[in-house]
């Protein structure tokens, strides 16, 4: 029997085209032994929820630098729930103003990371959440 691998969907919702952060995180999670499904730029919340369903992931990591997180995050959480995947942990990385963080956490976002966040912390938090 194979050990259970942590599966993570890394997605970039919305219209900004800056995917370096998402790629750095994808690579770091890979090096931590996780299986990362990378979906690329300009994903709609529907596309992300569908991919999460088909891939049966434990974690969804969103990279948002457009400022649209207060619209995108709740929509994605809602769709995951509608699909029966309310137990999937959602992480956000990008430019998130401090004042939005409490509300995002309240909605059910597990972790939020801004510029300069260490990938070691992200890996640690993902492992902790999935445990």
């Amino acid at each position: 029997m194979t050990e259970k691998k942590i599966r993570v969907l890394v997605a970039k919702p919305g219209l900004d085209g800056h995917d370096r952060g998402a790629k750095v995180v994808a690579r770091a999670l890979r090096d931590a032994g996780m299986e990362v499904i990378y979906t690329g730029l300009r994903q709609t919340p529907e596309m992300i929820a569908e991919a999460a369903l088909q891939e049966d992931v434990d974690v969804v990591g969103l990279s948002i630098l457009s400022g649209a997180h207060m619209a995108l995050a709740p929509r994605i959480l809602e769709l995951l729930k509608a699909n029966g995947q309310e137990n999937v942990h959602v992480f956000i990385g990008g430019i998130i103003p401090d004042e939005d963080m409490p509300r995002l956490r309240e909605m059910g976002i597990t972790g939020i990371y801004g510029p300069g966040a260490s990938t070691e912390d992200i890996i640690k938090d993902v492992r902790e959440a999935v445990k």
Binding site: M1, T2, E3, K4, K5, R7, A26, R27, L29, R30, D31, A32, G33, M34, E35, V36, I37, Y38, T39, G40, Q43, E46, M47, E50, A51, L53, Q54, E55, D56, N83, G84, Q85
Partner: protein, 330 residues
């Protein structure tokens, strides 16, 4: 309702969770496979393989779009990418090229890491295909790891193997080596808008002609010669060469036509059943080997086993002697 029932009824979440259990080769996964097995054997399994960067994922994307629009068939895609040999992690990126397929409930894409297998597929890819087959998908497309020359496991699994080439990847000598070209039921020269496409096609064609000679007329030192070769066996399948441009869909209907012809050929010649039998036979053999190995190891003390490995390491025993010793106890 059990999980397998809801998979059979088309519940996508149950299907997805079952795929995970099967991929992890868990007890539940094995039990479900047994329950689903009577429902398998209907789908057409199409393998898509070729070197990295030849455009396999984009081709699968276009082919699936075509099947959805023209034939309304339910399509499952299993996309295999390599796991890191060092950390066991993986980045599975084939979905990036398949974004046109999202929002369609008749398509299910599942990415898979190879998890240490080296034949171009993962250990449990065949089992995942069985689950999709039972769940009522008409066509299951299996995209292999970007393959070199010996990742040929796909030919054992799929009914139809499509080998994707792109211009500029090698000369005729590459093409007559054993391996990946030999397993092709259909050859695709993708990126047919790129320069060099004629050379690639010519190299592939002459390779095919070495294997399947037909009547030929050619000019030699200014004279026209006709060479007749023995009657070609009518049941012989000669791989067609399809040219495609998977960024815009050129050549896709023709490729789908070749695939359909191949399926018809398999049914007509009896190869469909023969392939199915061979595949199930080798699957059973692998399970048997595994079961025998674990049954054997149950009867061997771990300490004794380790001692023997150490003896081999110290060059006191050859590996052959060690195996004899383990089997015979002396």
């Amino acid at each position: 309702m059990t999980n397998t029932d809801s998979v059979l009824e088309g519940n996508r979440l149950s299907l997805s969770r079952l795929l995970t259990q099967v991929e992890n080769d868990s007890r539940e996964g094995r039990a479900a496979l047994t329950e689903l097995f009577p429902h398998t054997g209907r789908a057409h399994l199409i393998g898509v393989t070729g070197a990295p960067g030849t455009g396999k994922s984009s081709l699968v994307n276009q082919l699936t779009l075509y099947y959805r629009k023209q034939q309304n068939k339910k399509i499952a895609i299993i996309a295999v990418d390599p796991s890191s040999p060092f950390t066991g992690g993986a980045v599975l990126g084939d979905r990036v090229r398949m974004r046109d397929l999202s929002g369609d409930n008749g398509v299910f894409i599942r990415s898979m890491a190879s998890r240490g297998s080296v034949g171009g597929l993962a250990q449990t890819t065949a089992s995942l295909a069985q689950v999709f087959d039972a769940a009522g998908y008409d066509i299951i497309i299996i995209e292999t790891v970007g393959a070199g020359q010996s990742e040929v496991d796909i030919a054992r699994l799929a009914h139809t193997t499509v080998v994707v080439e792109a211009p500029g990847l090698g000369d005729e000598i590459q093409a007559i080596k054993a391996g990946i070209l030999e397993i092709a039921d259909i050859l695709v020269v993708n990126k047919a808008d790129r320069p060099g496409v004629e050379n690639t096609e010519r190299a592939l064609r002459s390779t095919l002609e070495l294997a399947h000679p037909t009547k030929r007329i050619f000019r030699h030192h200014g004279q026209t010669l006709t060479v007749n070769v023995p009657e070609v066996n009518a049941t012989l399948w000669i791989p067609p060469i399809n040219k495609t441009i998977s960024t815009d869909g050129t050549g896709i209907p023709e490729l789908a036509g070749s695939i359909e012809k191949h399926a018809a050929h398999l049914h007509q010649s009896g190869d469909w059943a023969a392939r199915d039998r061979t595949r199930l036979g080798s699957e059973m053999e692998a399970l048997l080997r595994e079961a025998l190995m674990s049954r054997f190891l149950e009867g061997v003390h771990k300490k004794k086993y380790e001692d023997i490995i150490e003896k081999v390491h110290q060059r006191g025993l050859s590996p052959y002697e060690a195996v004899q010793y383990l089997l015979n106890g002396k």
